[in-house]
């Protein structure tokens, strides 16, 4: 029986051991927001970590008692009877460091100054996130995850887990992801960042003190991002050349439905997301390359891996195309890891990883059931 995990509660973990970032910066103390669903079994072998993508957070599934409309971002995947079955697994979702949903980030008050970190929040990398997630795992008493799961930027964290802590993760599920971004992908991020950085309300990242937010920049960044998350076909199907009015107005106001949709998405996003967090997240995407110090050789980078892998891509995803997922598969084959790769025929572009699909869910059910039979054996 498929259902919701129901009412969930966000929790806060406090860490007082300084975290040294890859950049050399040190965060003396920090907090992480997280949620858990299901029950950790006696030998603590059934834990699954969900890593979020650019705009995600700890609220993965279920809803809040005081906000029943606030449903978790991956509620179709996580819950009783769902592929990541909370009757079988103990599922952990968190808001990454640098985020804007309660974990320590640019909008948090720096206890040393009494002001928001703003521009002083260190640039963070996927490696730093995994480090902080490992401390959260320690805090929860989880020595080894049955699986670390993530889509897009979340998939990079899942991969990094298996490289930084080979003994602490049995399975990696990297969905709609890549081992590192291409120049084109970095270019999109750069334009998005420039939209924010050049917004007059940005104030070098310390806009909080000025009582403003760089809404225009953030909105543009999201609009651009959103275009790249959809497929050409999906956009054509949904909007085509539909106009809001009967005829052309021969001006620069919103006329086409797609313009209206993008503005709506941009406004919605800019109303709740923090621009500094957006900058940090896109930069983390750009920097991630497990082979950076290995002459770009991914085969060498994955030599440390001990996990089994499931890699999933979607045919119409051009931001993280199937070819990028194959770049994950190849070094795993080279290093003779157990790996399965599914290429899902889907019309929805990069966003496909968040949507239900028969083959996608069939693969996820099958793989997670195998994991469950392993950890319950």
């Amino acid at each position: 029986m498929v259902s919701s995990v129901g009412i969930v509660n966000a929790q806060r973990a406090q860490f007082d051991t300084p975290l040294r970032f890859k950049s050399g910066a040190v965060l003396p103390r920090y907090e992480l927001m997280y949620e858990t669903y299901g029950t950790l079994n006696a030998d603590k072998s059934n834990a699954i970590l969900i890593c979020h993508a650019l705009s995600g957070h700890h609220h993965v599934a279920g809803y809040y008692a005081d906000a029943p409309e606030n449903i978790g971002w991956w509620d179709n995947m996580v819950g009783p009877g769902k592929p990541i079955d909370t009757d079988k697994f103990f599922v952990v979702g968190l808001n990454n460091l640098g985020g804007c949903h309660g974990s320590t980030g640019p909008i948090s008050i720096n206890p040393e100054t009494g002001k928001p970190y703003g521009s002083s929040f260190p640039v963070i990398t996927v490696e730093d996130w995994v480090e902080s997630q490992a401390r959260l795992a320690d805090h929860l008493g989880i020595q080894q995850f049955a699986a670390v799961v993530g889509g897009s930027l979340g998939g990079m964290q899942a991969l990094q887990w298996s490289l930084a802590y080979p003994e602490r993760v049995r399975h990696v599920l990297a969905i709609a992801s890549a081992p590192r971004l291409t120049a084109q992908n970095i270019a999109f991020n750069d334009v998005a960042r420039n939209a924010i950085l050049t917004d007059p309300d940005f104030h070098g990242g310390d806009y909080y003190a000025h009582g403003v937010v760089p809404t225009r920049g953030l909105r543009l960044a999201r609009m651009l991002g959103h275009i790249t998350y959809l497929s050409d076909d999906a956009m054509a199907d949904k909007f085509g050349r539909e106009l809001r009015a009967e005829k052309f107005n021969y001006g620069f106001e919103v006329e086409f439905e797609i313009e209206s949709y993008l503005r709506y998405q941009g406004d919605k996003f800019a109303a709740y997301f923090d621009a500094n967090t957006y900058l940090l997240m896109t930069k983390a995407l750009d920097y991630f390359d497990p082979a950076h110090s290995l002459d770009g050789n991914l085969n060498k980078a994955f030599a440390a891996a001990r996990a089994d892998y499931l890699v999933v891509s979607f045919t119409t995803d051009w931001r993280f195309s199937p070819e990028r997922s194959r770049e994950i598969v190849r070094p795993l084959l080279h290093n003779r890891r157990n790996v399965s790769y599914a290429e899902i025929t889907s019309a929805h572009g990069h966003d496909s990883f968040l949507m239900p699909d028969e083959h996608y869910f069939g693969v996820m059910y099958a793989y997670l059931n195998k994991i469950h039979s392993e950890v319950s054996a």
């Binding site: 080279h334 790769y341 195998k370």
Partner: protein, 199 residues
């Protein structure tokens, strides 16, 4: 042997050729039952390549590593000489780019193994002689719904190998579960070959 395993007559023949612990790539692996069989019989370390969605899910359920890919787009995900054996079991006749695929098999693997239905089998010949496309246990499709585009006889396959400097190491010809030794191209309904590049 796992009693639940569904096996085909060519499975046992293939398993006999494969030493314990070998690395195996199974092209067109379907639900992964051959790899599962080879894992239990020979403790092979293997991967399957399969194009169908149903096959991918079945392989994962069967605990078999599987890569979703179209064989006709080549084996570019696989490094040269990275497997002991590359198997093409009952799939050769359904591949479009058959010639380059055989070359690819011998790039990726030290040896290749193929099994395919023999179109020279007397019943097939008789069907054609009587004016119909053959339909049988080994060729279960109607002409209009068959995935088979490159059917051949044993002689045809051996000629292709000679022309491409592919050296046949061993051959087993079967009809059902019985091995055929006399007039194989006429009396065998199915064949399994093991081959490698000419030195």
């Amino acid at each position: 042997m796992n009693a639940m395993l569904v096996t085909r007559p060519d499975f046992a023949a293939i398993a006999e050729w494969i030493p314990q612990g070998a690395s195996v790539l199974d092209l067109g692996c379907g639900d992964g039952s051959l790899l599962q069989y080879l894992k239990s019989e020979r403790a092979v370390r293997g991967y399957g390549v399969e194009i169908s969605d149903a096959g991918i899910v079945a392989c994962i359920k069967n605990g078999v590593n599987v890569i979703q890919n179209d064989l006709d787009s080549g084996l570019s995900d696989f490094e040269s000489n990275s497997f002991d054996y590359v198997i093409l079991s009952q799939t050769l006749q359904a591949t479009r780019h058959t010639e380059p695929l055989i070359q690819e098999m011998l790039r990726v693997g030290r040896q290749g193994i193929v099994s395919f239905p023999n179109f020279g089998y007397w019943r097939a010949r008789l069907d054609v002689l009587l004016g119909n496309m053959p339909v049988s246990k080994d060729l279960p499709y109607q002409w209009y719904d068959t995935p088979n585009v490159h059917l051949c006889t044993l002689d045809d396959f051996e000629k292709l190998c000679r022309e491409h400097r592919v050296q046949i190491q061993e051959r087993r010809v079967m009809t059902g579960d019985d091995e055929v030794h006399v007039l194989p191209n006429l009396l065998g309904s199915m064949a399994v070959y093991r081959f490698q590049r000419e030195a």
